[in-house]
């Protein structure tokens, strides 16, 4: 089977999962407080429209986005476990590593969709507050898309870690619990010098670094030693999960 058709199969599996509905709900709910408290942006050290962007994305990226990614890993692993679907998948003439990679791609796809929804909601809510406060809160779309792209890319190592956790730890409560608990210290980690060794705080670090010197300039983050470390973590997690995928099920037959 071609890799693309494998991805198609995986998409088919989660078609009726209502996951997009939950993500949509999450996106709307996170932007509501931003709309209500938009007047606070006038007291910020950066310009109001930039503050509105940063505050809104901070609310999404600090907890909501990582936590929903954990929910997605639960979705991907539990749909296979009900009625022992994974056993049927393992009998197919497909390498388990390929299967695992396909699932990881799906995870990245859902993350991208969520980021897109968040961006769309940003434009809608920026338009609303522009109307309310008679002040232009809209940043240029090109700039917004670029920043969101960087946030998305910076979240890939985190997603890889969560995926490894869900493949590695068979007991769901530990994989979910470890993942959720690992999000909490990211607030502390972004203030330390060693933030780059903690993938869970990358997206949050990227968005908060916008407050650096009074103007948002996310692209000025030091890339060394961040990028090599992030790449190493992503690769390590990806390879480990591909190697481990389906192991436990094979043993239990």
């Amino acid at each position: 089977m071609k890799f693309l058709s494998l991805i198609g199969v995986e998409l088919q599996k989660i078609r009726r999962s209502k996951i997009l509905l939950i993500l949509f709900l999450a996106t709307i709910i996170t932007w509501l407080p931003s709309i209500l408290h938009a007047d606070m942006s006038f007291n910020a050290i950066v310009s109001p429209e930039e503050d509105f962007f940063i505050q809104g994305f901070m609310a999404v990226v600090w907890f909501m986005f990582p936590a929903t990614m954990i929910v997605n890993t639960v979705l991907l692993s539990q749909t296979e476990r009900t009625n022992r679907g994974i056993l049927k998948m393992l009998t197919l003439p497909v390498r388990t590593g390929t299967l695992c990679a396909a699932k990881f791609i799906i995870l990245l796809l859902i993350a991208a969709l969520q980021m897109l929804m968040t961006t769309a909601m940003y434009f809608i809510s920026a338009a609303i507050v522009t109307q309310i406060h008679n002040y232009k809160f809209m940043l240029s779309p090109l700039f917004v898309l670029k920043e969101v792209g960087i946030i998305y890319l910076s979240s890939i190592p985190m997603i890889a870690v969560f995926w490894m956790l869900s493949v590695f730890i068979q007991t769901p409560i530990f994989s979910i619990g470890t993942g959720l608990v690992s999000i909490v210290p990211s607030v502390l980690m972004i203030n330390t010098k060693a933030w780059f060794i903690y993938p869970m705080c990358y997206p949050f670090y990227v968005i908060t670094s916008g407050y650096g010197d009074g103007s948002i300039s996310i692209s000025e983050i030091e890339t060394f030693p961040w990028l090599p470390v992030a790449a190493a973590i992503t690769l390590f997690c990806f390879i480990i999960s591909c190697l481990r995928f389906g192991r436990a099920e094979r043993r239990s037959i």
Partner: protein, 238 residues
């Protein structure tokens, strides 16, 4: 009887170990915080307990509520996986007994967890501050308050867990609720009444303790009623 049975069901889910781990982690938080930055807190005025809780409780509460949400989803998921709930429904017991059994398991586990956290805080008080003789009484008062405010969130998480067959939906809804709770400012009384944001309240220095206690009790009653009605209605249409 039913609580022993419910506990037995959770045996292989690792619920106890998760609460143990979470409790230890949350108890270590204030200790680590004091070990690293004690000079930041030692000069503050006020009771040691107040200082410690103000500095650490937000994160500890976050750990607690996350753990309880995961536990609540898991504890109901064991019923829905492999359709065990259908067998439970054929037994001559009321469906809501299942809910209360699971609730009691979570209550016991969270008392356990809170006790560990109280231990961590007490250690900090004794080690870094001059503890007074009232420390243990204050500790009991504070953690009793935390416990009561934790119950509405726990019940709501269980209600969500009992409503959804798939764990990712109950977990997803719960996660959305918690992230809403983290966005609510703790000094806004009306918004703080949201069950998932109650655990973030602190007893020390709060002037609306009685209001919060009454609100928590009302919420507990309302959520239990909602669950009873929900189960009845679901049975009618099943």
């Amino acid at each position: 009887m039913s609580i022993a049975l419910e506990y037995k069901k959770t045996k292989r889910t690792g619920l106890l170990a998760a609460f143990l781990g979470g409790g230890i982690l949350a108890a270590l938080l204030p200790i680590l915080n004091m070990a690293v930055r004690s000079e930041l807190y030692l000069d503050l005025s006020g009771s040691p307990l107040g200082i410690l809780l103000n500095a650490n409780w937000k994160m500890m509460a976050m750990l607690n509520i996350l753990l309880i949400l995961t536990g609540a989803c898991m504890i109901y998921y064991t019923e829905y996986a492999e359709n065990a709930i259908q067998r439970m429904n054929t037994l001559p017991i009321r469906e809501s007994n299942l809910f209360f059994g699971k609730f009691l398991v979570l209550v016991v586990l969270s008392i356990f967890m809170l006790a560990m956290e109280a231990g961590g805080i007490a250690f900090c008080c004794l080690h870094w501050f001059q503890a007074t003789s009232e420390l243990y009484l204050d500790l009991l008062k504070n953690f009793g308050y935390f416990f009561l405010l934790l119950l509405p969130g726990m019940l709501l998480a269980l209600l969500i867990g009992s409503a959804c067959k798939n764990m990712w939906i109950s977990l997803g809804v719960g996660v959305v609720c918690i992230s809403v709770a983290t966005m609510i400012p703790t000094d806004n009384f009306v918004l703080s009444l949201f069950p998932f944001s109650l655990p973030f309240q602190i007893l020390e220095g709060s002037d609306r303790i009685i209001d919060f206690v009454i609100a928590a009790i009302i919420e507990i009653v309302l959520i239990v009623l909602a669950e009873e009605i929900f189960l009845k209605v679901r049975r009618l249409f099943a």
